[in-house]
């Protein structure tokens, strides 16, 4: 579904990504972790072309992301993305947030879009909040709406960039539950997160990044079980202390 082949990226002279090679099979859940500044967000933004990269190739569903002929907006409309800070549109009601891109991008009618949006809102347990505005919801609720908004585009895969790290601890689980549900429904997912409980439960593979490099790319059992790179071990030891 997603292939990442020898991708490098620089911000000026600073190299953020260094020869990253990996991929996500259809139906797989891949967790990406690593210390702050290691390039996780940058890598995941390269997948749907939100960040350009200078070297290597990325394809999504066979479509080359980096090639100038690719219709990136069209590709992005098929790839769901969830951000650390939710990024709902504050001036639109929850229903409008869910409907906007369906109407403007997929050219669904307003009624179809609202119906589809409400169905997904129900799925994340927030049907009662449909008339509210993002500023009137808690962080956890906003993030669930953001997931529903991404799903409303009927994406072929989902990207998550630290979806729970801006949340108060008591709200983390309500979002993780939605993601676990999504994973068990067979959604292809690439998830940047430090929630190792989530990784243990649903990940097929875990990728560990450091200094722009993919240091470790292992099955879940190998990652948590067998010995691996020292850097990843230290990192794991540190975050599992919590």
């Amino acid at each position: 579904m997603i292939t990442i082949d020898n991708v490098s990226k620089w911000y000026g002279a600073f190299q953020v990504l260094d020869g990253c090679t990996t991929g996500v099979q259809k139906g797989d859940v891949v967790v990406v972790c690593g210390p702050s500044g290691s390039g996780k967000s940058t890598l995941i933004k390269c997948v749907n072309g939100l960040e350009p990269f200078q070297q290597g190739d990325i394809t999504v569903d066979g479509i080359p992301v980096g090639s100038p002929g690719t219709d990136l907006p069209k590709l992005r409309s098929r790839v769901g993305m969830v951000f650390q800070h939710f990024e709902l549109f504050p001036h639109l009601s929850i229903t409008q947030n869910l409907a906007l891109a369906q109407v403007k991008v997929l050219k669904r009618t307003r009624d179809e879009a609202v119906e589809r949006g409400l169905k997904l809102l129900d799925r994340v347990g927030l049907a009662a909040q449909r008339e509210k505005f993002p500023g009137q919801l808690s962080g956890g609720q906003q993030q669930r709406v953001a997931i529903a908004r991404a799903l409303s585009m009927d994406p072929i895969c989902m990207l998550f960039d630290e979806p729970t790290s801006a949340l108060d601890p008591e709200m983390i689980n309500e979002v993780l539950d939605v993601m676990v549900q999504l994973a068990s429904d067979g959604m292809t997912m690439m998830v940047v997160t430090h929630e190792m409980g989530f990784a243990r439960k649903v990940a097929h593979r875990v990728i560990f990044m450091d200094h722009g490099r993919i240091v470790e790319d292992a099955t879940k059992d190998d990652f948590f079980g067998k010995p691996h790179s020292e850097r990843a071990q230290q990192f794991l030891a540190k975050i599992l202390q919590h």
Binding site: N48, K74, R78, G135, A150
Partner: protein
């Protein structure tokens, strides 16, 4: 004294003030439309990360912000027609009031557009970067991201500075008297010169300016209330 007949035109002094008010409102309204449209376009373009567009936008803003308004007024009225033959022949043939009006509208519209462009740019840039990314990630194209995601919030945020820009524009329109446009200040001075009652004439003009400014303020406050986003706390103090 406002009920006395003016020496020319068979009208009373108060009618001169009303006609001055008419020109003031007409110039301000037309200039405001130009300023808002152009300012929004240029302010928006300056945030699109295209090097040459940004440079043109910067040049625009610097040009109109750094030349004194009075000089700009003279440039539009006296100098610009010299460079455009068609315009010059029109100016000579047309009613002088029309040429004065056009010059004043262009001058004030472009001057204010530079200031509004700055505010629109600042409004867009005050939004979290993630908003743009979220719009793009949903598959919206760049113009759609601006139209549906960024500008609606940016404009809400900049209503207070837009209000003071609107008031400035109305007050700045009095500079059009220097090219002979018979707007409110022009008429007040005229009445003062005819009657030697400068105090009364300018007091009346002042009151009228204050009334217009207050009305504009009220309208903007209404717009702000109507477009307020539930649950959203604006960044700056209000």
């Amino acid at each position: 004294m406002f009920l006395q007949d003016a020496p020319e035109g068979g009208v009373q002094y108060w009618e001169l003030l009303v006609s001055g008010l008419g020109w003031t409102l007409a110039v301000s309204a037309c200039a405001w439309v130009i300023a808002l449209l152009l300012g929004s376009a240029i302010g928006t373009l300056r945030t699109t990360h295209r090097a040459w567009v940004t440079r043109v936008g910067n040049a625009w803003v610097e040009l109109f912000r750094n030349i004194p308004l009075l000089v700009q007024m003279f440039l539009w009225y006296f100098v610009a027609p010299e460079f455009v033959p068609a315009l010059k022949s029109w100016v000579i043939a047309a009613d002088p009031a029309h040429a004065q009006f056009l010059s004043a509208v262009l001058c004030l519209g472009l001057f204010t557009s530079a200031r509004i462009a700055e505010q629109v740019r600042a409004g867009i840039q005050s939004l979290p970067q993630g908003q743009r990314l979220a719009g793009m990630a949903l598959g919206l194209r760049e113009p759609q991201v601006y139209r549906y995601v960024l500008l609606p919030m940016a404009f809400r945020i900049i209503i207070p500075p837009l209000t003071s820009e609107t008031m400035n524009l109305i007050k700045n329109s009095s500079i059009a008297l220097t090219i002979g446009l018979a707007e409110l200040t022009f008429r007040a001075r005229e009445i003062g010169e005819y009657t030697f009652h400068f105090f009364e004439a300018f007091s009346a003009a002042t009151l009228i300016y204050v009334a217009i400014a207050m009305a504009a303020n009220r309208v903007m406050a209404l717009v702000e209330r109507r477009t307020a986003v539930p649950g959203y706390i604006a960044h700056g103090a209000k």
